[in-house]
């Protein structure tokens, strides 16, 4: 099947069986290994990507459903290859430890921050509720996302 989609803003045309998992297409032919596989059944959220702005588990999405749509992966959240405000906050404030859940966490957080630029801690926890982390206890991930939100708003500090 011929599939036309944009990946991290770049138009791509693929000829692939439609039932291939989006996850495998990203990690295989597209060479975007930033998206990780943690369980393969939609439970851990490690493989989250944005599909037309919505966070989805790439292990559950057949590539055939991506025709005409836009996919953003963790690589697409970087700015010229360097971390943006969210990535910097995760790296500097304890939001990333082993880093394997970090791409999924950042995708879920990005979707939240686009919709709600000034989320509460509870809203952050809710948005990240579908992504498992075994390292941090989540406290510093929540803190990192709140800091990134503040920086993106230009407020310079965590609030309210």
């Amino acid at each position: 099947m011929k599939i036309e989609l944009t990946v991290n803003g770049v138009a791509r045309t693929l000829e692939l069986p439609p039932l291939l998992r989006l996850l495998d297409v990203l990690r295989g032919p597209l060479g975007l290994t930033g998206t990780k596989e943690g369980c393969g059944e939609g439970e851990c959220g490690t493989c989250a990507v944005l599909l037309d702005g919505e966070p989805v588990n790439a292990c559950l999405v057949p590539i055939g459903q991506c025709d005409g749509r836009a996919v953003v992966t963790v690589e697409g959240l970087a700015v010229d290859g360097a971390p943006g405000a969210l990535g910097r906050a995760m790296a500097e404030h304890g939001g990333a430890q082993c880093g394997i859940c970090t791409p999924g966490m950042m995708i879920s957080a990005e979707a939240l921050l686009v919709a709600r630029p000034a989320p509460s801690a509870g809203e952050v926890r809710h948005a990240l509720g579908g992504t498992l982390c075994r390292c941090t206890g989540y406290e510093r991930i929540v803190d990192s996302v709140l800091r990134a939100a503040a920086e993106r708003r230009g407020a310079g500090e965590v609030g309210p």
Binding site: R27, L32, T33, G34, T35, K36, E37, G38, C39, G40, E41, E43, C44, T46, T73, V74, E75, L77, A78, G81, A82, P83, L86, G87, R88, M90, A91, E92, H93, G94, A96, Q97, C98, G99, I100, C101, T102, P103, M106, A121, V124, R125, H126, L128, G129, G130, T131, L132, C133, R134, C135, T136, G137, Y138, E139, R140, I141, V142
Partner: protein, 759 residues
């Protein structure tokens, strides 16, 4: 340069992760992200479906096309042993299987889909035998699967009245401790059990192996490159210089990538050898849960004696650990278990006995805490029970009996310093409002009851007793062009932040910037054997020699600067031009006063202990018995926090792992097989299940720790979560639970037993 002269610009600051940018942009390459090598095959294992049985034959379905499938059987393994403590575990089962999921045949194929079909086309003809699946059955020894009585290892620690000289020390010390107990005003007994736990690192185990003119290469998700090298040398009969083991960026370990990857590396290497192609083996979640190690289940029987005023005097404790089918690291796990069994209390007389027993379950193995969470669960629950008998608040009873400098542990180790226990207790109780919340009756709103509970724990850092002396861990720091310093160590960063905190230690020790410090990829060919990345030893033990090596290299550059001027970088480059290489290789030596008697289990078990007080506040749904942890306070004596944010991250992450163990994480078994090997039904806490954490760092420096006194803290937070949660549930509901996990079903059963709820 003595430590008082060191300027600390980096240690003590929460600098960002040095590997952070790679991880948050998706650039970091974990094992399954490594590009396929030319001709690479995928590998898989065919595993036993039964817990115990004789292997009669292995049949390859003749209707299947095996032409492009590599098959490895036990007879293909040069030396069919996984080299750990005892040579009892085969790389592939040959004549019998001793646990479900034991590997029997290995397959490799370029086509992943065909590989899956090939696994299904292998028929194992097994004659099942009676299996031993529980600790109690192992102890009863009606079916014997190991030695004369299923007992696999045994320890005895005696102190005070129990420390008797006799031919039969086991019996004589038992009689002596019973006499000591009989002389106590208040005697309390209890039995405390705990269960398997799956590590659930989010990156499953994975390895890529290939052969070339230099020998064998294995790159994987691992904690201990030299363990893997040792196993490959033994199993494939290769000299160390022909085996090159490299750590890929590793997505969590928690002990689950300590000994297990040796098995996986052997499998990948054997397939690669036979096929002549590179072989990649990355487990799916199901295989990872089924085939890899778990935390040891344990039962502890405890009797204590105390004065009516609450002074704890006598401890008698017997711990039984379920080793699973092979020894792996169990004797060391059990050792740490018995060494922590006295908890944070000053016992006058103590007798602690530990036994590990063989069962036909997958081997239990290393898991953060390494035996200590099991005995600390028991002793903390038990002291809560003593408080109930005495009508005392448990936290106050604990505070009354805390170890102080000058007190001795059950092995007779006199605590010389760095004991911030009392400060931890004060900080956690005050921040949580424990006293006020305990003083009022449990708050019940609608069908929700709130309660609060506390635990106080310790964790020894580094290898036990004489272990570090035997290990002789080494690191090197090299001078590189431009005044840069490169750390070469086998201590891996598996998420805990080794690369960052070592860079901080080096930057201060050498007086250079953080950006001037590099961390070499851990590969056995290029880094010295620093000992394994385990036992809360990375910062305290390995960090201390990293510090020394950096000081030595920097001193040489400074001497050159003093002699001929110029910047640090210019002087360094002159040295390099003159000498070719400038490097310091340092070897760890424990403090001279550390004395340990392996035969009698006496002496200084650890150079230092970290301490913590955990307070949990819970809300229990009185209709469904669901438990939510609504607040968690931890105050930990870490000696010296090299990076406070990362230190707190370790403490919080460990606490949540402990809360998961306590409440929801349950491996469900039937006939030796796991019924819930999936994330759908093995339940680890999410961001919505996790409580807000308030974490306090207490710093009682350890004089031999790096950065001005850091102690090891990686495992400490696994120790106190479960007993704190159980104490809080007891406060909220009056239900006394002595067995983990604290699931709604168990709370309901306890409530039914109390006659409160009609079925």
């Amino acid at each position: 340069m003595s430590s008082s002269e060191v300027r600390r610009e980096h240690v003590g600051r929460s600098v960002g992760r040095v590997d952070g940018a790679a991880k948050v942009t998706g650039r970091a390459l974990y094992v399954d992200d490594l590009p396929a090598r030319p001709g690479e095959l995928h590998g898989a294992a065919v595993r036993s479906p039964v817990a115990r049985g004789l292997l009669r034959s292995i049949e390859l379905d003749p209707a299947f096309d095996w032409s492009d499938v590599t098959v490895v059987r036990a007879e293909d393994v040069p030396d069919n042993v996984v080299a750990l403590l005892v040579d009892d575990q085969p790389v592939l089962a040959r004549t019998r299987v001793n646990h479900a999921y034991e590997p029997v045949v290995l397959l490799a194929c370029a086509d992943r889909g065909k590989l899956e079909r090939a696994v299904a086309a292998v028929r194992l003809e097994l004659e099942p035998e009676p299996a031993v699946l529980e600790l109690e059955a192992a102890l009863a020894a009606e079916t014997v699967i190991s030695g004369p009585d299923n007992v696999q290892s045994r320890y005895l620690i005696t102190k005070g009245a129990a420390d008797v000289e006799a031919e039969d020390r086991v019996a004589a010390s038992r009689a002596a401790i019973e006499r000591a107990l009989a002389g106590c005003e208040v005697v309390v007994s209890g039995r405390y059990s705990c269960h398997h736990q799956e590590h659930l690192y989010l990156e499953p185990n994975g390895m890529v192996a290939w052969w070339d003119a230099d020998g064998l290469h294995a790159t994987g998700s691992i904690q201990c490159p030299y363990y893997v090298q040792k196993g490959l040398c033994r199993g494939l009969r290769l000299p160390a210089e022909r085996v090159h083991v490299t750590q890929a960026v590793t997505g969590g370990g928690f002990g689950g990538k300590e000994e297990y990857p040796t098995m996986l590396a052997l499998h990948a290497a054997l397939l690669a050898q036979k096929s002549g192609r590179p072989v990649r083996m990355v487990y799916g979640r199901r295989e990872d849960i089924e085939a890899t190690t778990k935390r040891h289940p344990a039962v502890c029987e405890v009797t204590t004696g105390c004065d009516r005023d609450g002074t704890l005097r006598v401890l008698s404790l017997r711990a039984l650990y379920d080793a699973g089918a092979y020894v792996t690291l169990t004797p060391v796990v059990l050792s740490r278990g018995v060494l922590h069994a006295g908890g944070v209390y000053a016992w006058r007389d103590a007798r602690i006995e530990g036994l590990s027993l063989a069962t036909n379950t997958p081997p239990s193995g290393a898991f953060r805490g390494f035996g200590a969470p099991q005995t600390l669960w028991a002793i903390e629950r038990h002291v809560d029970r003593v408080a109930r008998e005495l009508g005392r608040d448990p936290a106050e009873l604990k505070r009354q009996n805390l170890l102080r400098v000058g007190d001795s542990t059950p092995t007779g180790q006199v605590l010389r310093g760095s004991v911030g226990l009392a400060e931890c207790v004060t900080a956690a109780l005050e921040a949580s409002g424990y006293r006020d919340k305990r003083a009022a009756p449990p708050r019940v709103v609608g069908r929700k009851a709130r309660g609060i509970g506390c635990s106080v724990v310790l964790h020894g850092a580094g290898f036990t007793g004489s272990g570090e002396r035997r290990l002789q861990g080494k690191v090197a720091v090299d001078l590189r062009p431009g005044g840069r310093l490169c750390i070469r160590t086998a201590s891996t960063d598996i998420g805990q932040g080794t690369e960052t905190v070592f860079a901080q230690i080096v930057a201060d020790a050498a007086g250079v910037g953080l950006a001037d410090v590099d961390f070499a990829t851990p590969c056995t060919t290029h880094v010295p054997d620093s000992g394994p990345t385990v036992a809360s030893r990375t910062v305290m033990v390995v960090g201390s020699i990293v510090e020394r090596a950096a000081q030595k290299v920097a001193a040489r550059v400074r001497a050159e600067q003093a002699a001929a001027g110029g910047s640090f970088a210019a002087a360094g480059d002159r040295l390099l031009a003159r000498e070719g290489a400038v490097s310091a290789l340092e070897q760890y030596e424990p403090p001279g006063w550390v004395a340990w008697d392996d035969a009698r289990y006496k002496g200084d078990a650890y150079p230092a202990f970290a301490f913590a007080c955990d307070v949990a506040e819970v809300e229990v749904d009185l209709d469904t018995f669901e438990v939510r942890v609504v607040g968690f306070w931890c105050a930990a004596d870490v000696g010296r926090a090299v990076n406070p944010v990362m230190c707190k991250g370790q403490l919080e992450g460990g606490a949540l792992q402990a809360i998961g163990w306590a409440l929801t994480e349950e491996v469900v078994w039937r006939d030796g097989r796991i019924l819930n090997p999936r994330l759908t039904n093995y339940i680890v806490p999410t961001a919505l299940d996790a409580p807000p954490f308030e974490t306090f760092l207490v710093e009682a420096p350890f004089e031999h720790g790096p950065g001005g006194g850091a102690k090891g803290i990686g495992e400490l937070p696994m120790d106190g979560g479960a007993p704190a949660v159980a104490a809080a549930i007891e406060h909220a509901t009056g239900l006394v639970l002595d067995g983990l996990p604290l699931t709604p079903e168990r709370l309901l059963a306890a409530s039914l037993a109390r006659g409160e709820v009609k079925p």
